[in-house]
Symmetry: C2
Subunit: 282 residues, 2 copies
């Protein structure tokens, strides 16, 4: 039976107790409305640690003023069932006031790689992410923390924070989980209309096309960019935010596919902003 | 025999080992060139913990471009002897490259209270302080960390960081240690000429005068400010940076002495910037 924890104090006491008993802690930080992608993280955490903590916290500081904080889907009851089925022992679900009490004033910021891709479109987003993940790591003090690669830039930013601040936690990046038709799983998918849901398939399809071309020998980034862009333009209801072909570590744009490369895109499908990516090595 | 540790990796391994043996860790972060003030922190840490770690690191990110990073005094051999005499088990003295490797990009910043007092005169100073102290806390993971109240604002800023980021460490503020003639101990005092050293005494004297007046019933902040300012103006070689009478928690200026009040000043004595303060409760 998964145990629900609402306060930092109680969470910390539980962790201290588990650690005293020699248990290792696997941590899956989420914003809730869990899908198979999240559950794959929970299962992996369970396989690699004694105790699994899932946090469910829709973090206001990582949303811009005109973004979808208010309509971000929430369903704690369902999240509880799914976490339990995945093997989690604890769900940490603090209130906003618990995490950011009156007079809160401290932020953790990674510079450089946060200006690119989603960071360029969502100023302040990654500052909110690094701050809340830093806080959650202090509260849960996990041995390992699991993040999905759908948010590839988020993984890179958190790995950079952990390295720079000498945090004693191993970040485990986990593969994107997709619907059977290719759409990358996202809590935001539930906000798509049926028509938009169908149109959104072009995002993953364009990436798969790029993947096939790379596997067939294409190395030219401009050519690949053109293919992805042409693909997505077929869906006139989709407004591309960015399509980027970048080095996976620096997130700097590359001219050719060489080493570990991230091909990432973001687009507005109806009212919903979706992201997707593939990582290629050549 | 105090053990010298230069790498983060080795420091972390030692701490892990000590913690596995059930030992508590007391931590005294310093910039070295230790004086009796620092040693009072080491002794207190030793009295309250099993193992004491002193860090010695002149942190470049907390110095402004025209400040005294290059001439900040350094003497690791003497620091070693003093730390050992105080009861420390370990000295952590990393290089700048060890703490800020090439490509370093992450900063921890407390807003609000860092704009005032020394923060107003030294933009970026407290961002450097909170970043390095955050890193040191991750590396040493102390149960308790000891800071001198000469840097009263620093204590307030670090307490705020620890609270906001839910860091699992107790901050222990410790009283100012003074020379027999009243001068607050500071590693920077060694850079004073004999004449400036003499002139500098007016700083503590002005604060003691204010203290006497408060003890005799004076509550008006403007009156106390005038007394301190008049005192210091007697020494024409001293250039006051600020004299502030503020609430100890918010660092907001107060009109009367009520509750816990910090009377703090900073002044340039010759080429050396000195700070001093008293904390009063009324």
């Amino acid at each position: 039976m998964v145990k629900m924890i609402a306060t930092i104090h109680e969470m910390r006491k539980i962790i201290e107790n588990e650690k005293q008993r020699g248990k290792t802690i696997g941590f899956v930080p989420t914003m809730g409305y869990l899908h198979e992608g999240h559950i794959s993280l929970v299962k992996r955490a369970k396989a690699e640690n004694d105790v699994v903590v899932v946090s469910i916290f829709v973090n206001p500081t990582q949303f811009g003023v005109n973004e979808d904080y208010d309509v971000y889907p929430r369903d704690l009851k369902r999240d509880k069932e799914l976490s339990e089925a995945g093997g989690a022992e604890y769900i940490f679900h603090p209130t906003v006031e618990e995490m950011y009490p009156n007079g809160y004033q401290t932020y953790v910021e990674v510079f450089g790689i946060t200006d690119k891709l989603c960071g360029a479109s969502r100023p302040g987003h990654f500052k909110g992410v690094t701050t809340v993940v830093n806080k959650l790591f202090q509260i849960v003090s996990p041995n390992k923390a699991y993040f999905g690669l759908k948010d590839a830039q988020q993984v890179a930013v958190i790995q950079k924070m952990v390295k720079d601040l000498n945090m004693n936690v191993e970040i485990v990046p986990c593969p994107i989980i997709r619907e059977s038709d290719g759409l990358a799983m996202s809590s935001r998918n539930v906000n798509l209309t049926p028509t938009d849901r169908q149109a959104a398939l072009v995002l993953s399809r364009s990436l798969f096309n790029a993947k096939s071309l790379i596997e067939a020998g294409t190395r030219d980034a401009v050519e690949l960019f053109g293919v992805i862009e042409d693909n997505i333009e077929e869906e006139t209801s989709i407004k591309v935010d960015y399509i980027k072909i970048v080095d996976f570590e620096t997130l700097e744009e590359v001219k050719e596919i060489k080493g570990k490369v991230l091909i990432a895109l973001a687009a507005k499908v109806g009212k919903v902003r979706l992201i997707d990516n593939i990582i290629m090595e050549a």
